[in-house]
Subunit: 462 residues, 2 copies
C-alpha cells in the first residue's frame, strides 16, 4: 500500500463522521481523480466507537495520532482553540500536513500556526473554515490570484441568514425565529457566536487576509450582531426596495484624499442591500460571498455554509490538493516520520516550490496596511427617526444632515402610529461614520425627537 495516502481524523463529531462517510461513498471518484488510494488509518477520539471500520485504529491519545508514523495528513475537526491548537502544532512539528475546519483557531492563532508550518515546510489547509462547502478559500487564493481585490461582502453565518430570512418571509420576530433555529440545530444553545457576529468575524478575518495580503487581525474586526433588528425595520427596508442581510465586509479604501482614512475596513453588521441583488436572494442557511476585484469585476459564490456533507467536501478538497503535494508513490515516504527541514531533502524543497502561500501572498510580502477604526469607515445608512408630528421637523433633520455633508438618497415618512408621533425613514449615500455620529447626536438633541435614532448600514454592492 505504498501508493496510499494515510489520513488521521481527530474528532469524530458531525464533521469527522461526515468525512468518513464521504470517503466511503466516493472512494471510486477519489481514486479515479487522484490515482491514489485514500485511506483513514487512524482516528483520534475520546470514546471508542463500534460503528467504525475495525481496520481503523481508534486512539484516545490525540497527540499520539497527530504524530503517528502511520499518517500523512492530519484532519483536525475537534473545534475549540486549546486542544485543537496543541494537536495541530504537534502534527506540524512532526512533519504532517494538516487540514482543519477551525475558523476560530485560525482567526485567533493563524499567524503563529502558519509561520510554524512554513518553518516545518508543511501545509495547513483550511477550506472548510469559511463558508463550509463553498470553495471560497481556493477561489480567493488561486482563482483570483491575478486580481486586485477591491472589496468582498459575504453571508458567512448560516444561522444569522436563516433568522433574517424567516423574519422577512414570515413576519416573525427575532426571538421567535431564534428559538426555532435552536430546535432545528442551526443555532447553539448559546447562540452568541452566531447572532452577535463573532463567528462571521472569524471568517471575515480569514477572507480579508487572503484578499489583501495582510496578517490575520481578528481583534480589529468591527462586529455588530442582529439581535437589535426589528420587524419594523425589515418591512421599511422592503418598502424602499432593500433587504436586510447580516454581512461581513472587507473593503480597501484609498481615503479619498484623506490619508488618515486610507486602509482596510473589516466589519460585520446588518446591512440593507438592494432587493434584486443575487446576494439579497440567498436565503435560509445558505452562505454566499460576493467578491469585487480588478479586472474581473463581481463574482458570486453560493452554497451550503455548514453541515456534515458540505464541510466534509471542503476538508477532502484540501486532502486532494495535498495528495498532489505529497507527490507520486516514489516519494511517498517523505511526509512520514519527523520533519526534515534540511535543504538536502529534495522532495520537501519541491513541495515548497509548489506551495500556495497560506495567506495567498508570500509571507514576506504581507502588508501592514492599517485596519480602519469604526469611526473611519464609510457606508450608507438607513435611519429611523421618531419625532412629534410638528411642522418643520423634517426640515430640521434634513438641514442637520445637509450641514454635515450627508447626502439623502430617499425619505419615507409614514403616518403617525402613536398619537402625534411620526417615524421618518431616511436612506443616505455613503458617509464616514464619525460624521454620521455627529449628525445623529444633533438630531437626537432636537426637541421634536422622541426616541434614539435607529441606524442600520446600507450598501448598494455597486
Amino acid at each position: 500500500m505504498s501508493n496510499s495516502i494515510k489520513l488521521a481524523i481527530l474528532g469524530l463529531g458531525t464533521v469527522g463522521t461526515g468525512v468518513i462517510n464521504l470517503i466511503n461513498d466516493n472512494l471510486n471518484e477519489l481514486k479515479r481523480r487522484s490515482g491514489r488510494d485514500i485511506i483513514i488509518t487512524e482516528v483520534g477520539t475520546r470514546r471508542q466507537r463500534d460503528d467504525i471500520d475495525p481496520n481503523i485504529i481508534q486512539n484516545s491519545d490525540l497527540m499520539a495520532t497527530a504524530a503517528s508514523d502511520n499518517v500523512d495528513i492530519v484532519i483536525e475537526v475537534i473545534g475549540g482553540t486549546t486542544l485543537a491548537k496543541d494537536v495541530i502544532m504537534h502534527a506540524i512539528k512532526n512533519g504532517k500536513h494538516v487540514v482543519t475546519a477551525n475558523k476560530a483557531l485560525l482567526a485567533e492563532h493563524g499567524n503563529e500556526i502558519f509561520a510554524f508550518a512554513e518553518q516545518h515546510q508543511v501545509h495547513v489547509a483550511y477550506e472548510a473554515a469559511v463558508a463550509g462547502g463553498i470553495p471560497i478559500i481556493k477561489v480567493m487564493r488561486e482563482a483570483l490570484a491575478a486580481n486586485k481585490v477591491e472589496w468582498l461582502a459575504g453571508i458567512i453565518n448560516g444561522t444569522g441568514n436563516f433568522i433574517m430570512t424567516e423574519m422577512r418571509d414570515k413576519g416573525r420576530p427575532f426571538a421567535d425565529v431564534l428559538s426555532e433555529a435552536q430546535e432545528l440545530g442551526y443555532a447553539e444553545a448559546d447562540p452568541t457566536f452566531d447572532v452577535e457576529g463573532i463567528d462571521a468575524a472569524h471568517k471575515l478575518a480569514l477572507l480579508a487576509s487572503i484578499a489583501f495580503g495582510i496578517p490575520l487581525q481578528f481583534d480589529k474586526v468591527y462586529c455588530e450582531g442582529i439581535t437589535g433588528i426589528t420587524l419594523q425595520d425589515v418591512n421599511y427596508a422592503e418598502e424602499l426596495g432593500y433587504r436586510i442581510k447580516h454581512l461581513g465586509f472587507a473593503v480597501r479604501r484609498d481615503g479619498q484624499g484623506n490619508a488618515d482614512n486610507a486602509g482596510i475596513e473589516l466589519r460585520v453588521h446588518p446591512t440593507l442591500i438592494p432587493q434584486d441583488a443575487l446576494l439579497a436572494n440567498v436565503n435560509g442557511v445558505k452562505n454566499a460571498v460576493l467578491v469585487n476585484s480588478h479586472p474581473l469585476g463581481q463574482t458570486l459564490y453560493c452554497g451550503d455554509g455548514a453541515g456534515a456533507g458540505a464541510t466534509a467536501s471542503a476538508v477532502m478538497a484540501d486532502v486532494m490538493d495535498l495528495v498532489r503535494v505529497l507527490g507520486s508513490k516514489d516519494n511517498d515516504d517523505q511526509s512520514s516520520g519527523d520533519q526534515n527541514s534540511s535543504d538536502q531533502n529534495n522532495t520537501n524543497q519541491n513541495n515548497k516550490g509548489h506551495h500556495v502561500p497560506h495567506l495567498a501572498f508570500i509571507p514576506e510580502q504581507l502588508s501592514d496596511t492599517p485596519i480602519l477604526r469604526a469611526e473611519q469607515m464609510t457606508t450608507g445608512y438607513y435611519l429611523r427617526v421618531h419625532a412629534y408630528d410638528s411642522p418643520g421637523v423634517l426640515a430640521d433633520i434634513t438641514r442637520i444632515l445637509s450641514d454635515a455633508g450627508i447626502n439623502i438618497d430617499a425619505i419615507l415618512q409614514k403616518p403617525a402610529h402613536k398619537a402625534g408621533e411620526v417615524p421618518v425613514i431616511i436612506l443616505t449615500l455613503p458617509v464616514v461614520e464619525s460624521q454620521m455620529n455627529l449628525a445623529i447626536e444633533k438630531i437626537e438633541k432636537l426637541d421634536t425627537i422622541t426616541d434614539k435614532v435607529v441606524r442600520i448600514r446600507l450598501d448598494e454592492l455597486a
Copy 2:
C-alpha cells in the same frame, strides 16, 4: 532574471490586450502572490503594434514564438481551430506549458491535445474557455474533487442570456433584442454560434468531461437554440412562476431500472426554471453554473462570462498555477527548450506528480459511460397547445398524456385570443422524451387541435 516567468501571448485581440493590461495593472499583486517576476517576453501578432512595450519582441511568425527559448508559458488567444491548433501542438512539442481560452478548439480536439500534452509532460490550462472569469474549471477540477457530480446546469452564453433577459424584462421580441446585442458587440455579425447554442455546447462538453470523467464528446451534445422562443411563451412561463433561460445541462442518469436509459445527458436548450431560483435571477450578459454534487449539494458560481478583464483574469489564474508547477528559480530552466520525457528528469517527474489531470480524472480512468440520445433524455415539459374551444378538448389532451404515463403538474387555460381558439398551457413532470414525442404526435392528430404543439423543457433544479 532567472527568477522570472516568461510569457508569450499569441494573438493581440481583445483578450491578448486584456492580458497585457492586467499584468501592467497588477504587477505588484502578481509578485506579492507568486514571489516571481511575471513578464511578457514575446507576442505573436500578424501586425506590428506601436503601443506595445518595446522590450517585448513582436513576432509575426507565431510558430517561432510558440517554440521560443525565451518563453516558459504560451498563451493562445488567437481563436479558431486551425492556426490555434497548430501553434498549441507546436508549443507542447517544444516543452511549453500552454494557456488557452479556446473552447471550440478544446471541445473539438481536446482529447488529442491533452494526450499530446501528457506525452510531453506539459500542462494545457483552459480556465478562460468556459464561463469567462468564473473559475468553474478550477472549482470542478479541484474544489469539488471529493464529490460525485450528479448534474450541472449553466448559463454559459452571455449573448443568449442577454437576449432572454431583455425579452422578459422589456417585452421585446427576439429579433429586436438580437439586433441590439449585435450593436453592443455582445453578438457576432453571424450570431449562429450564440443563438443556436453551439458556443454553449462547446463549453458544456468541457464541463461534462471534468464533472463525470468522460472523454470530450462535443458531437454528442443535443443542442437547441433560442431562435424559436416567443414573447408569448416567456409571459406564460412567468405567469406560472417560471422563467425561460438558455441552459446547458450535464446529467448523470441511472436509467431508473431501464439500463438502456442509463448514461449521461448532454443538452443545451431553452428551459423553464423556477422564478425564485438564483439561476433565474442571473441577468444580462452574466454567466452562472449551478452544480449538484454529493455530498456537497448545490453550489452556484456567477460572474462575467466574457470581456477582456474577465477573460484575462482566468488566463492569468492559469499562469499563476503554472508558476507553481514551474517551481522555484533553481529549476527554472526545466521548461525551456525541448521537452525531455526521460525518467531521469527529476523536475519533470515532480511536475507530473503535482499535476491536476487535464480532464480532472487521470486519463486511464476516463469512463465510457454512454451519452444518451435525445429521445432517451428525461425532462419536464412546458406544452402550448392550440385548440378549438370545444367541449372535451382538455379531456382529450389530458387523457393522451395520462395514457402515456405523463404526469401533469399545472394547467393554464387562457381565454380565446382568436375566434374560438384557446391556448392551453400544460406543465408536466419529468418524462422520457420518446414518450413525450408519442403523446404529442397523438395530440396533434386530434381534430380540435389547430396548430403544432409548442414544447419547451422544464427543470425544477431540485
